[in-house]
Amino acid sequence: MAEAVKLSPQLTRVVSHFKKYDIEVPKSLLETRAQKPDLSDFPYPLPLKKKDYTCFCETDNGVFWYGGKGGVTRYNPNAESIYDKVMHFASRRDLLDNNVAALVPDGDGVWVLTDNGATHIDMVLMSMEDKAYKLLDETLTYVQRHSMVSQKHLSEAGNLKSILPYGHSDNDGTFTAGFAIGEIFHYVTLKRELGDFADETIEARKVAMRASEAVLLLMYIAGRGDGFVARTYLTSNEPVPDDGLFYKKNGATAVCLNTTDARQRGVVGFEIKADAPIPERLRRLYTCDGFDDNDITYKGDTSSDEITLHFLHLLVAHEFLGREDPEYDELLKIAAVNTATHIIKNNYALREIDGKYTTWAKWNLEYFNTAMGWADACLNAGQLLMYMRVTMHLTGEKGIWQETYDKLIESGYHKLTVKHFDRFNQVCVQGGIGFREDIMYGDHMLACASLWGLITLETDPELKEMFRQAFRTWRNSLAPEYNPGYDFLYFLSDPDNAKPDAERIKTWFYRFNVSRLAAGVSLDKRRDYPVRTFKGGYREVSALPPNDEHFIAKYDRDPLEYKNEDSGGALCVESCYPYTFAYWIGRYFKFIEEGKN
């Protein structure tokens, strides 16, 4: 394992917006006369055209700030990293608009006057751990819904106070599992570093356990008794959107509600068993808010995405929470057994109320041999193998899981895992589009999760090597993201080939936004990032911008995409897990460590 990358506290952008004549806004900002900067010998790429810079100022620390038609550029000639030499601040995330009229220094930061008001840009010294806590606090305060964390919607852009109290995500299970895994590693890192009884450790365990329970609840909440996993659930105070299959629980059964998808599938009004018991400690997640089982409407048609992160969560929760809480461990085991059994009994698929497979949870050869499933097969084969390995590991039994695993190997599932790039690329060529424009970027996390889980648990050296090879087939699309959330799992899986890039790892954490409040950021005025257009019209930038200069997203988007809007739209606050997942896994496995500035 490579030496840990030492992270140090960094000046981190924190912005506050004001009306032009707000009392907080210094008079000097309104009165200052803009002076055009001389940028003729500027030594680095400038975000805007030189002639578009109209004003500048210098702050005490020898940092220059340039404003113009397109935002504010900060130039620190003494910055240690090339990534930090030139920073850019643009609307809407950092500025009210991009027409900068004046700049006035204020400590390490500046006041910025634009058409629509004034912005204070503060550069706050912050450790990466502090950032993790700040982000976590925002998520726990604003984002979580019944302890699930995906994102929350707003009624007014940029205003956290305008959060809507309801709103689900199709992938609440996936995203919350990612969050829970990050928080479990948070807990065990503190436990190792501070001891079991430190306040911080106790608090971290509480957060981790609650998130873990929220994920696990989804494996029980349908109450079908057959291991069917719900995508998410709503309580009776939340509106049911016309987006998928929803089942309203009512005593011993649940009825499928009238939605477009339900009508298309012909299952409106269908009833299904819903009385399988839900463990009381999980029920508490909604009963504590005054809801009972009949207040629950759960979402079905669950996908393989959900199941994959559920199983990785089961593995991590078992290792770190279950081992110290046998009662909870039993719940994890039962969930694994039930869902794995469902998949085996249903020809390697999730089966819905009508007896047909769900749209996106199919791991059988029947699906793999379809035009759609041919390229999916490589990812899905690894997922199913991982589920079996995790179930064996949790239960400590081989039984049907080993039998199934052996059958899958006999059917060539292991060989399918290494064909990802071959098949995916072939489908792209067939479709006349570029490789990068057809990637489902959410598959990156699924590949990392399933292959990391599989490689961790696999004992046969040949199979282990084959799964490592499978992981390498994903690097073509994973590596350009330099995302430690993916890369740490890869390094753990393939330590001999791991080549951590310390500079990129630092930059990813240092430049991660300190808030997940959506706002969007303008790339279209920038001259320093070339744009490339693929055959199908998809656009990317030719260099990966730092996190605080491109849109925000979950682990499901291409960070190189040429895009001005955050992936959840402008009316959104995202959860913190893209950061905390990477940070705490990095800390736990000592890829990173906190140091002094």
């Binding site: 400038l46 060529v429 001259r527 490339r532 257009t533 030719s542």
Partner: protein, 822 residues
């Protein structure tokens, strides 16, 4: 029996081979006429033909027929393939050449036919470098068809269909022709379709059968088509269908096949072709470098001085170079007379390069402020400057076309008593023997340090008193050294007897002498060296005739050796200059040895040897098995010596062939065999030989520690091949400073190969660069005063990137087609 085998009616045309280009041109016209007639006669027949150069001939000579072709292309009946100017040799052209092959051809097809080619098609080329998948993809092609090497030459390469990967991650769907690109006659076709049927059953998918008279053109005949039509559906056989390579690849992708992949080059077929006919090799290298440098400076000049860029002229010049990269030309296996034509057309290209280069440099240099108060006469009165005659120093501007700073000796044609840079600092210089036989016999050599892609002005105080006989006298020893290496030649043999890398301390000649001119017997093969892959039959080593030290100064030392072998002579000047990492050897060979190769052997010794060779925009490692290997500017042997990993690279200005038998690297400098001798037994008459007579060439020796790719060999070899320009100037006022950098990148592992105007006339700039060391790199930037400022880029290992910058300084990343094809 449920598969469809596709019949590809095609005409493989060699525009030059056993005939000159005029005959090739006529052959194209006749073949295209015939193909059009067949297309009209048979509604389901489809015709395929490559090479934009041929279509251009038809357009220029027979516009009516060209229009007929346009109509057939529109209907999908005539399918142009290979979006390159010709079917080039796929080993020796530079990466930039492949970009130009694509640029001028695909844009031609786009303009004339509204399409670009999807399939690369080099069915006759004699081997295919490992970067081809990337070069094809960036040319706009996803598919590839090749034939050589055949299964008998390399059975490790997958049969039929496979995915071919280059080291950057690009891949193309590739079809290996199993049974030739041409056939004629019913008997042959009957046999081939039966064999194809069996092969398709074995493969599990349909295959392609190429038919049509080839080489000297012809294409499918009525007899071929009639026969095939009768056999499209036969009981018990797979179906046959008239199609094109494009159609085949598109259909086969729908079958969701798990195909094998191949991540290596496709070699070897004609190993003698990397060295046969030194003339074309030298002209190609020279033209490639001259055009690239000229176009860069022409572009700068057009911005700095608002002059009109020579984009159209460069297009014509590059088309000549591209044409001469046709495999039978570039590989030196055409008839001798054809090379007279090659000299003419390469001369055309070189002339465009030199004129535009000179014009551009002078336009720029005349805007440099070189004025000195007190100098009233800014023009020459005689050969020397009037200003200089009155004690004023002479300004000389040195231009560097590389994207990295260079520091090397440059020459001006008169002696000096002092040389200063533009800041007034004295720089190292040496008056050296000129090539003139009159006046003082002296030139000035001085060390110029020039910014990346920029210029620097130096000031020379001329020395009217200097005389060669006074200045040049040498103590006769044969040892030279500088900061980087120490070299000693053996007085008995003239070979290198000691070669020490001062950084690593490694002695490369501890086991054997080095740089041994070795004569190899080559009388068992033809011009191609068909079926011969190693040249190891040593006739003898050249014997020393004389050795003398001819220069020994502050800046450089030169030792001259003269060797002989029978009636052949070789003169070498070993030149080691201060601050230079490369020992340069300028060679003059008077060669008379028939059926021989001349190799320079470097038996370095050591263990764990790895050989590395430059390929277009990259490098490749090959086994040290003694097979003859193609390389661009350099090859390298890296070994373990005394517990250290050290390497010796050999570069050249005009050679492309090396071998590496174990821990020995050998540069093949000459190959003197009969022109266009194709599988013959013995010569029946007195023939002309490919390298007989006078040959001038240079090679260089570069030492490094670690592996080759981690060293500076790419930059050293490119510099060796592309000397910086020296422009004597006069005294004038100007708006430009005396030193300037127009473009640079922060990444040490990136070189810029092109700076040009976009072909669409928009005035946009195009910059092309590639990664040299095989490492993924991020946060690269390219800065330039030519377009407002600069931009960031990430670049993968071995990746080629092309950027287009518009007048508003918006930057887009494009492929070789410059974003023109939508």
């Amino acid at each position: 029996m449920d598969k469809i085998n596709r019949l590809i009616g095609n005409a493989h045309l060699d525009p030059i081979w056993l005939w000159r280009w005029q005959e090739g041109c006529a052959e194209v016209l006749q073949t295209f006429r015939s193909a059009l007639d067949r297309l009209k006669e048979y509604n389901d027949f489809v015709f395929t033909c490559s090479s934009a150069a041929y279509y251009k001939w038809v357009e220029d000579i027979d516009p009516q027929m060209f229009e007929e072709i346009r109509m057939m292309v529109k209907k999908g009946r005539w399918v142009p393939v290979n979006g390159w100017w010709v079917q080039p040799d796929c080993n020796m052209p530079s990466g930039e050449s492949y970009a130009r092959q694509a640029l001028y051809s695909q844009l031609y097809y786009y303009e004339k036919f509204g399409i670009t080619c999807k399939t690369g098609y080099n069915v006759d080329s004699f081997g295919h470098n490992a970067m081809m998948p990337q070069l094809l993809q960036k040319s706009g092609m996803d598919f590839y068809v090749f034939q050589r090497p055949g299964m008998h030459e390399n059975d490790e390469i997958p049969e039929n269909l496979f995915w071919w990967d280059s080291a950057d991650g690009s891949r193309v769907l590739t079809y290996r022709l199993p049974d030739g690109y041409a056939s004629g006659g019913v008997d042959s076709l009957r046999r081939r379709i039966d064999e194809l049927d069996k092969r398709a059953d074995d493969a599990g998918y349909g295959l392609m059968l190429f038919y049509g008279v080839g080489n000297h053109g012809g294409g499918p005949t009525r007899g071929d088509i009639e026969f095939l039509k009768e056999n499209l559906e036969r009981e018990g056989y797979n179906e046959l269908e008239f199609s094109s390579p494009d159609g085949y690849f598109e259909d086969i992708l729908n079958e969701f096949l798990d195909l094998p992949s191949w991540g290596d080059e496709l070699q070897h077929h004609a190993s003698g072709c990397y060295s046969a006919t030194s003339l074309i090799k030298a002209l190609n290298r020279k033209a490639e470098n001259a055009l690239a440098a000229a176009e860069k400076w022409d572009t700068v000049s057009s911005i700095v001085t608002s002059s009109a860029p020579c984009t159209k002229e460069f297009e014509k010049a590059w088309q000549k170079v591209c044409f001469n990269q046709f495999h039978d030309i570039m590989c030196g296996c055409s008839i001798m007379e054809a090379y007279e034509d090659v000299k003419e057309s390469e001369g055309y290209a070189l002339n465009i390069a030199s004129e535009s280069y000179n014009n551009a440099l002078l336009r720029i240099s005349r805007k440099i402020d070189t004025w000195i108060d007190g100098v009233s006469d800014p023009v020459f009165e005689e050969r020397h400057y009037s200003g200089a005659d009155r004690g004023f120093p002479r300004p000389v501007v040195v231009f560097n076309p590389h994207s990295y700073e260079v520091e090397l000796p440059v020459r001006t044609y008169h002696p000096s008593k002092a040389v200063k840079d533009c800041d007034g600092n004295e720089v190292l210089f040496q008056n050296i023997r000129s090539s003139r036989s009159n006046d003082d016999h002296l030139d000035t050599l001085f060390v110029a340090k020039v910014p990346p892609f920029g210029y620097a002005t130096y000031w020379l105080e001329l020395d009217s008193e200097a005389r060669a006989e006074k200045e040049i006298s040498c103590e006769q020893n044969f040892f030279m050294e500088n900061e980087f290496m120490a070299v000693e030649l053996d007085a008995e043999t003239g070979f290198i007897k000691s070669l020490v890398d001062k950084k690593s301390g490694a002695q490369y000649a501890d086991e054997n002498f080095l740089a041994i001119p070795t004569v190899i017997n080559d009388d068992k093969t033809d011009t191609w060296a068909h079926n011969v892959f190693k040249f190891h039959d040593v006739k003898g080593l050249m014997e020393l005739v004389s050795i003398e030290r001819v220069e020994s100064g502050a800046l450089r030392s030169v030792i001259r050796t003269k060797h002989k072998f029978n009636d052949s002579y070789l003169t070498q000047e070993f030149i080691l200059a201060k601050g230079q990492k490369t020992l340069r050897v300028d060679c003059k060979a008077m060669w008379q040895e028939s059926f021989t190769l001349l190799k320079f052997a470097f038996p370095v010794g050591g263990a764990d040897e790895i050989s590395t060779y430059e390929i277009p925009c990259g490098y490749i490692k090959r086994p040290c098995n003694g097979e003859e290997e193609p390389a661009l500017n350099w090859a390298d042997l890296t070994v373990n010596k005394d517990g250290k990993r050290v390497g010796l690279s050999v570069m050249s200005d005009s050679k492309y062939s090396y071998d590496c038998p174990g821990a020995e690297l050998r540069l093949t400098a000459l190959r003197n065999v009969i022109f266009a001798d194709h599988y013959s037994d013995k010569p029946a008459a007195s023939f002309n030989f490919t390298d007989e007579g006078l040959n001038r060439f240079s090679y260089g020796i570069y030492l490094h520690d670690g592996e080759a790719e981690g060293s500076d060999i790419v930059k050293e070899a490119h510099l060796f091949n592309n000397n910086i320009a020296v422009v004597p100037e006069s005294y004038h006022k100007g708006e430009l400073s005396q030193k300037e950098c127009f473009l640079y990148t922060n990444l040490d592992n990136v070189v810029v190969t092109a700076l040009k105007r976009c072909e669409d006339g928009s005035g946009d700039l195009v910059v092309r660069l590639y990664e040299t060391k095989g490492v993924d790199s991020s946060r690269g930037y390219l800065m330039s005063k030519l377009f407002d400022n600069g931009f960031w880029f990430d670049i993968g290992k071995h990746e080629i990137k092309t950027f287009r910058i518009d007048r508003e300084t918006n930057v887009t990343e494009v492929n070789f087609l410059e974003g023109i094809v939508k």
